[in-house]
Every structure is written in structure tokens, then in C-alpha cells.
């Protein structure tokens, strides 16, 4: 009932400020919104607005009266008064009273806005130059949301759609009638996440987390934008919230999880150069073209060119590294959290072969995956795998059981040729108890355990095996 009254009051105020229906379409006033908070804010806004109008009418009324009647051309003679303590006291006290009256509801609304407790869903929102990342903390669902308006529309080469600049590839889907807590932060510079219909606007500060919350009451699509200047494409990072029923929300969560799983499978597939190029161009336009420009020429002084650049035609490992890990202290972000291995492989391949770069090199998703397997991780995982798959025979300390299972400390197989070592683990040793582990362990696990064996118990060979080497192992021929 209270809600209805608020809506009624809201639309009444709305009607008063909108002289005609046509103006309403243009959006002349703050939206009433779809949350209790947004309605309180709207009513605060309208109250203070009418207070200001009233003050203006009185003040300007007196002024215009005076300007009209006390003109010299009408024969006005000037009076001589120049102070009146009573009047001055009155016009000091009245504003104070108005202000106190305004301060009470304002403080009440503010206090309500600052209470994110008892939220059912936590969404972490991270601002990137120039896109948003949404992490559903309870669901392990996470994705980026990019502007989906085409460059052609922006450059007036094609018709602008209804939601020009306010459309994204992936909506932030939220259930209605549920208290949702937003945890806002940023990866690079300060952004600000704003959805007018929710009356939520909060800065996303790198290194800090701001909290905010909402309970959406009505299903629908609510659009907003980044409101803190965050660099070149500040105008191109919209926010789109899609509020759905609780059931639809559950279904959506299930779908998006399935999609993520399907995507992970793609990494195992064999990719041709052409496939990588096609996929790479898509990714490039979405993730890289804003800075490095669609033609790869960059913006001199601000964003380096890729065309014929030392990175894009030089050492492939360095190229992969800068895409995966970014370049600290510059606008170049680490894309490992933003793009899948397939996407990164595709875009690197694209960059190495587009615009006349023509290195002819294809980078596979596996090469990208290797990037996340540094020595520490290989050793940690390797120790675990060793304990599970090898320690029974070779013993936890690698000494083996003399006469039954060979030791691994300082022996030829672990100290010598790395290919032979990989081969024996992958394919086993015919006629011995040494099994072929390729069907039991993943390439990552094999890479880890081989690395572990070569560096544990004082072996300290110092080399390491990448999962991609294991995955493509075909008996020792590279």
C-alpha cells in the first residue's frame, strides 16, 4: 500500500514537471525507479525542487516588482534606509528552518542506503578500462560485460539503434525482490557504476571496495553508464541490469555455468590458423581495438602501434606474456582474467598475422595455458600428484624400494634427457610395472609431476615441463 502511494505521489510530481507527453519521452526528469530507495530519492528530489521553485518565485517576484515599480523612469525617488535588523533576522531564520526540515528526510534516506546487511546475493563489480566485470561470489559465475554498439553506428556509418551506447553483450542478470549487495572495485582507474532506476551510483576505486545494495521490485531491463571520467572510452562503458523472476534467475545461473563448461572444452580442440584468425579478429575488435585501433596503428604517444611492432612480430613468448600478464604501470591490462585461453591464443595469432605482420605463426590455446604454470605451481601440484600416483612405488622420499621399484634420486631418467623422462611417464615402460599415465593424469598433472621429480629431493635439475609439451607428446619427436 505504501508502495502504491509512493508511486502515485511520484507520478503526480512527474506529471507536474512534464508539460506534455512528448517531453516525457525525452526524459525531462529523474526516473522514479523500481526500488524503494529510488522512490525515496525521487521524492526528496521533487520536494527540494519545489522548495527551490517556491524560494525563486518569492525572491524573483520581489525583485521584478521592485525593478518595475522603483524605476527612475517612473519617477521613483530612492529611499534612505540601509539596514533593518528585524528583517535580517527573519530572512536568516526562515532558511535555517527550511534546511532543518530538509535535513531530516535526507539523513533518513542516506542512513537506509548505507545498510547493506542481510544481503542474499553478493555481486562483485570491477571496473576495467572500458568494461565491467561481474563476479557472482556465491555462484562462481563471472563474466565481462562489453559495449555491443558497433563502431559503424558510432561513426555514423549505419543507423543508430534504439539503445545506442546503452547495450552490452552480457547483461548483469539479477532476481527481483532479493536483497543484492554490490561490492565495487576497479582494476585500473576510478570508475563509477550507475543505474538511475535503482538509484545506485557508487565509485569503483582501485584497491578498495565500496558497498552498495538494492532490492529490485519489478522485472525489466535497466540501463546506466559509467559516470567517472576513466580515460578515452569513458563514454562507451554502459551498465545493463536485467531483473528477472527468482525462477528465471536460477535457470539463467544454470545456463551460464553450462556455457562456461562448454567453453573450457574448446581449449582442447585443435585450432587451424584460419580459425584462430577469424576468432582473433572478433576478440581484437572487442578487447584491443579501443586503444590499439582497428588498423593496429595505435594512437601515437598514448597507445603503441602493433603493426610491425617488436612485440607483435618478435619473440612469441614475450607477446604472450604481455597479453596474459599485462604491463604494470601502463594502461595495458592483464587479460588472463578477462579472456579465455582460446580467445587469447586467437587474438595473439591475429595480431601476429594481420595488417601485414604475416609472421605465419599460430599460437595455440595450450601455449597460453602454459603461462599460468610457473615453476612454483608445477612443483606444488607436482608434489600432490606424486603423492597420489607415484609414491606408492617410488616412495615419498623418491628412494624407491631397492630391487622392486627404482629410486628417482640422482638417477639417469630424472637427471638426464627430459624427453625420455616425459616419454616414460606418458607412455610407461613396456614390460615393467611402470604404467602409461597418459590416460590417468591430465597433461597438466603429468607436466607437474615430471617437473617435481626433476627438482625434488636434491635433484635440482632446474628445468620444467609445460603442459602443452605433454599434451602434444607423440613419442619424443617435436
Amino acid at each position: 500500500m505504501e508502495t502504491r502511494k509512493n508511486i502515485l505521489r511520484g507520478s503526480l510530481f512527474g506529471a507536474l514537471t512534464m508539460p506534455s507527453a512528448a517531453f516525457a519521452e525525452w526524459g525531462l526528469n529523474m526516473p522514479v525507479g523500481v526500488t524503494e530507495i529510488s522512490r525515496s530519492v525521487f521524492s526528496l528530489h521533487m520536494t527540494i525542487f519545489w522548495v527551490c521553485v517556491a524560494i525563486a518565485v518569492v525572491v524573483f517576484g520581489v525583485m521584478f516588482y521592485s525593478m518595475f515599480h522603483h524605476r527612475k523612469s517612473r519617477g521613483a525617488k530612492s529611499a534612505h534606509f540601509h539596514e533593518n535588523t528585524t528583517v535580517e533576522v527573519i530572512w536568516t531564520i526562515i532558511p535555517v528552518a527550511i534546511l532543518v526540515a530538509m535535513a531530516v528526510p535526507s539523513a533518513a534516506t542516506l542512513i537506509e542506503m548505507y545498510d547493506p546487511s542481510d544481503a542474499e546475493i553478493d555481486v562483485q563489480i570491477t571496473g576495467y578500462q572500458w568494461k565491467w566485470k561481474y563476479d557472482y561470489l556465491d555462484e562462481e559465475v563471472s563474466f565481462f560485460s562489453n559495449l555491443s554498439t558497433s563502431r559503424d553506428a558510432i561513426y555514423n556509418a549505419e543507423q543508430k539503434g534504439e539503445n545506442y551506447l546503452l547495450e552490452v553483450d552480457k547483461h548483469l542478470v539479477l532476481p527481483v525482490d532479493t536483497k543484492i549487495r554490490f561490492l565495487l572495485t576497479a582494476n585500473d582507474v576510478i570508475h563509477s557504476w550507475w543505474v538511475p532506476d535503482l538509484a545506485v551510483k557508487k565509485d569503483a576505486i582501485p584497491g578498495f571496495i565500496n558497498e552498495s545494495w538494492t532490492i529490485i521490485e519489478k522485472p525489466g531491463i535497466y540501463r546506466g553508464q559509467c559516470t567517472e571520467l576513466c580515460g578515452k572510452d569513458h563514454g562507451y562503458m554502459p551498465v545493463v541490469v536485467e531483473a528477472v523472476s527468482k525462477e528465471d534467475y536460477a535457470a539463467w545461473v544454470a545456463t551460464i555455468k553450462a556455457e562456461a563448461a562448454a567453453k573450457a572444452d574448446l581449449a582442447g580442440k585443435t585450432w587451424t590458423l584460419d580459425e584462430l584468425m577469424t576468432e582473433g579478429e572478433q576478440v581484437y575488435l572487442k578487447a584491443c581495438a579501443a586503444c590499439h585501433m582497428p588498423n593496429g596503428e595505435g594512437l601515437p604517444g598514448a597507445f603503441p602501434a602493433l603493426k610491425n611492432s617488436p612485440i607483435a612480430v618478435g619473440d612469441v613468448a614475450a607477446h604472450i606474456d604481455i597479453v596474459v600478464n599485462g604491463k604494470p604501470g601502463t594502461a595495458m591490462q592483464a587479460y588472463k582474467d578477462q579472456l579465455s585461453a582460446v580467445e587469447m591464443a586467437a587474438v595473439i595469432t591475429y595480431e601476429r598475422n594481420a595488417w601485414g605482420n604475416n609472421t605465419g605463426e599460430a599460437v595455440t590455446p595450450n601455449q597460453i595455458a602454459d603461462m599460468s604454470w610457473d615453476m612454483d605451481r608445477l612443483m606444488t601440484v607436482g608434489e600432490e600428484v606424486y603423492g597420489k600416483a607415484c609414491a606408492a612405488c617410488h616412495q615419498p622420499n623418491g628412494q624407491g624400494i631397492p630391487g622392486a621399484f627404482p629410486g628417482l634420486v640422482g638417477t639417469d631418467i630424472v637427471m638426464g634427457d627430459i624427453g625420455a623422462h616425459i616419454d616414460i611417464v606418458v607412455n610407461g615402460k613396456a614390460g615393467s610395472a611402470m604404467q602409461a599415465f597418459k590416460d590417468q593424469l591430465s597433461p597438466e598433472e603429468i607436466a607437474a609431476v615430471v617437473t617435481y621429480e626433476r627438482n625434488a629431493w636434491g635433484n635440482n635439475v632446474g628445468d620444467s615441463v609445460k603442459p602443452s609439451t605433454v599434451a602434444s607428446w607423440n613419442g619424443g619427436e617435436k
Binding site: W26, G27, N29, P31, S40, H45, I48, C52, V59, M63, S66, H70, K72, A76, S78, A79, H80, H82, E83, N84, E88, W91, T92, P95, V96, L99, M102, A103, S106, L110, M113, I154, Y155, N156, L165, L166, V189, I190, W194, P196, V200, D203, I205, G207, N210, Q225, C226, T227, E228, L229, G231, K232, D233, H234, G235, Y236, L299, G301, A302, T330
Partner: protein, 533 residues
Amino acid sequence: MSTADITAEHHDDHHDHGPAKGLSRWFFTTNHKDIGSMYLWFSLAMFLVGGSMALVIRAELFQPGLQLVEPGFFNQMTTMHGLIMVFGAVMPAFVGLANWMVPMMIGAPDMALPRMNNWSFWILPFAFGMLLLTLFMDGGAPNFGWTFYAPLSTTYAPDSVTFFIFAVHMMGVSSIMGAINIVATILNMRAPGMTLMKMPLFVWTWLITAYLLIAVMPVLAGVVTMMLMDIHFGTSFFDAAGGGDPVLFQHVFWFFGHPEVYIMILPAFGIVSAIIPTFARKQLFGYASMVYATASIAFLSFIVWAHHMFTVGMPLAGELFFMFATMLIAVPTGVKVFNWIATMWRGSMTFETPMLFALAFVILFTIGGLSGLMLAIAPADFQYHDTYFVVAHFHYVLVPGAIFSIMAAVYYWLPKWTGHQLNEGAGKFHFWMSFIGVNITFFPMHFIGLAGMPRRIPDYALQFADFNAIASVGAFIFGLSQLIFVWNVIQNIRSGKKAEAKCWEGAEGLEWSVPSPAPYHTFTTPPQIEGAK
């Protein structure tokens, strides 16, 4: 440096010589009127440069989509427009007016420290030269907004930010020396009998403004120095990874920035308080409360800075404190507006060009003040913040506020400076074109802001298109009409009917007791002050 500059004759009648000939007059001068003129010309030049940048912005925003400039350049334009208008146009214009008028209003022979006065001025062309040079550097000019929030202005800034920082340092040096000079002049150079409470309000408002400048320009220097350290020396003031905080930048910046916006409006109060009594032919109402209200606004300006940062996620207590403190500013500001209207009440008014600008100031500044009151309400500010509503608000207080007051002052005192009567026809034409242009430009911005258009974007959604087109048309009307002003001022310098010493019937004050144009040196012997102010 030759010592021939000081010669024995200076002991006898060193005030009798007129201006030197040629360029050396301007480069080497110590005369407050010459320096005032240079400040005003410099300010006009910067106003036109900054204005052209505004027109680039408005032209791009005429329609949705990108037509004229790329987003990167658009950001450079918004940044440079803001910096140039604040530090290059408005502040030097007020300093120029202070240079011209303060010594004449208090019966002083010149400013207290004349050589330093010239230095204060000459730093500015170099500082802005360097700032404008950044437009031609690799990576372009500063592109992080005139508020230059870290880390966009540090880790993610173009190389030219280093030059921007040094340019800000130079402006700071200039402002602080200028302010010290004004304080010393007002406190030490008044003619006998010119007690503090007899000083014209323009002098009072400038005294308080000068205090604000001395208090906050060093803070600005401090914050840009911290930026410089973060960029080049590996400190972590604004980087959480090292224990710093990007929001710290905003606190320090706005501790400077909020008093700064009053620096740009208090002298305007003084100007309007001089002009309205003149053309209402009636003494200013509530002189004492005007002085107190100015002081009170200045004090409050130090404890409200964080209302520019309601959305950064301050703790609730901070949010409430800054909301309450900010709302209180409405009280002394209201007192001022009421006093001006009470001055008009039962006066005998005429509407010459300076009065038109002053009246437009009262109306339009009040509109800006009222939208300011709306912005003070923190929960509502979450919706207004960083939208065109804010753009509308601060342009209402700065364009028909600060800029109109400067126009009013120029028209009001121009006969005193040039010795020629005003061309009222051209002046009124300029006024009406500006008045219409300003409102067409900035009024619709309230609506697009409320409807949800963020500021500092080069392109926008379709529902904002109509009002943006209107605003752009208004901007060109306003911009072009300033050429009438330039023409009018130049014409007035070159020709016109001879102006009397007291060229406005109702004018009061020492400046009207000297001939028009004012002699090169005024009040070499202090005047006698009557009881009246």
C-alpha cells in the same frame, strides 16, 4: 641590471612621470594600472581560447555519434577548457580588477609591492604557454579532467602531465604572490580615515578571497607534488598496493577546490555590491551583514569539501557531516541575495549595461545556488553526481555568475579606465545576446542531467539528442556574442565621448573622485576620507 633605474629625481617627484613608451612599458612596468590592464587582456585572451575549446566540445555534442573529434581529443578539450577558464580566465580577470581598483578604492598610490606585482603577472603567460604546448606533445595534452583524479592523472596519464604539474606550480606561485600583494595593500596602504568598515565591499571580498588563495593554493601545490612523486619517483600516495588511497587525492584536491570555487565568486559579490547601489541610487542594504556573510561563506568553504565526493564511499558519519555543513552555506548566501534585493527596493533604478549584467548575475547566480542546494542533499546527489545536472549547476554559477560579474565590472569601470563613455547600444546588444545564449546553453543541461546523461562523454544515447542540439546552438550564440564585447572594448579605448570623473550618477567611492581616464599615478598624496563609505 643597471642601477640607473633609480635616479635622484625619484626623490623629488617620481610619481609625475607617465608611462614609458613602447613594449618596455608592459614588460618592465610597476604600475598597478598597467599590470591590471595586462591581467585583463590576458584573461580575455584565455577566455577566447578556452571558449573556442568549449565550442569544439559543443560542436561534437551537437549530434549523437562521433563527427568532429576522437574521444581522446575530446577529453583533452574538456580538461583544457576547464583549466584555462578557471586558472586563466576567471582568476586573472579578478586579479586584474583588483589591481586596477583596490588602490584607487582605498586611496593608495599603488600596490604595496609593485615589482612583485609585475612578476605575479608575467609568470602567467609562461605557465599557460607551457600548458598549451602540451597540446602538441606526443600523447596529447592532459586528458583527465580539470579535477585530474588519480590514478587516471598519474599511472595512466600521458607524458605531458609532468608539464601540466609544473604549469600548475607556476600558476600557484603567481596566485600566492598576487594574493599576498593584495592583502598587504589592503591592510597597509589605506588612506587615513579609510577604516576597515568603510572599505567598499569589493575591497572586502577581495581581502577575504586573498586569504583563501594564500590558504589553499599551497595545498594544490602539495597535491600536484604528490602526483609528480607517484609518477616519477615510485611513491604510493595514490596507490592502494603501497598503502595509499586514490580517494586521498580527491580529499586534498577538494580541500583546495572548494575554497577555489569561492575564490571565483566572492569578488563577484563585491562587484555586484558596487554596481546595484549605483544604479538603484540607494546605499547598499546591510553593509555589515554583507561583510560578515562573506567571511562566513569563506569559513564554511573549508569544511564542506567532501560534498564533491559523496559517491566515493565515505563512511556514513562523514557523509552526514558534509551534507549538513554544505546545506548551511545556503544561509549566508541567501543573506547576500536578500540584501541586494533590499538595496533595489524603493530605489530609483536605471538599467545601463553594467546594471543589466549585475541583475542577470543576481537571478542566474541564484538559480545556480538553488541547484547547488539540491546537490547538497547527499541521497539525491547520488543521482545528480557527475551528470549534466552538475555541469548545468556550476556553469550557472560561473558563467552568468563569475563571468557576467566581470563583464559588469568592465562596463562599469571602463569609462574610468579609458576616459570614454560607454557605447550603451553595443553593450546592451552584447548583454541580451549573452543572456539568451547562456540560458539556451545551460538550462537544458539540467534536464539531460536528470534524465541520466553523464558528464565528460563525447557521445551519448539518443534520448539526450534534442536538448544537446539546443545547448550547442546556445553555446555558439553565447560564444559569438563575445566578439561584440571585444569590439566594444576596443572601440571604447580608441574613441568615444569624453567621460566625466563621476560618469554614473549614483556612483560613490574614491575611484570616482579622480578624473576619467584615471591619471597614471593616483593618490600620490593620500586623500581625506569623509564619514560616508
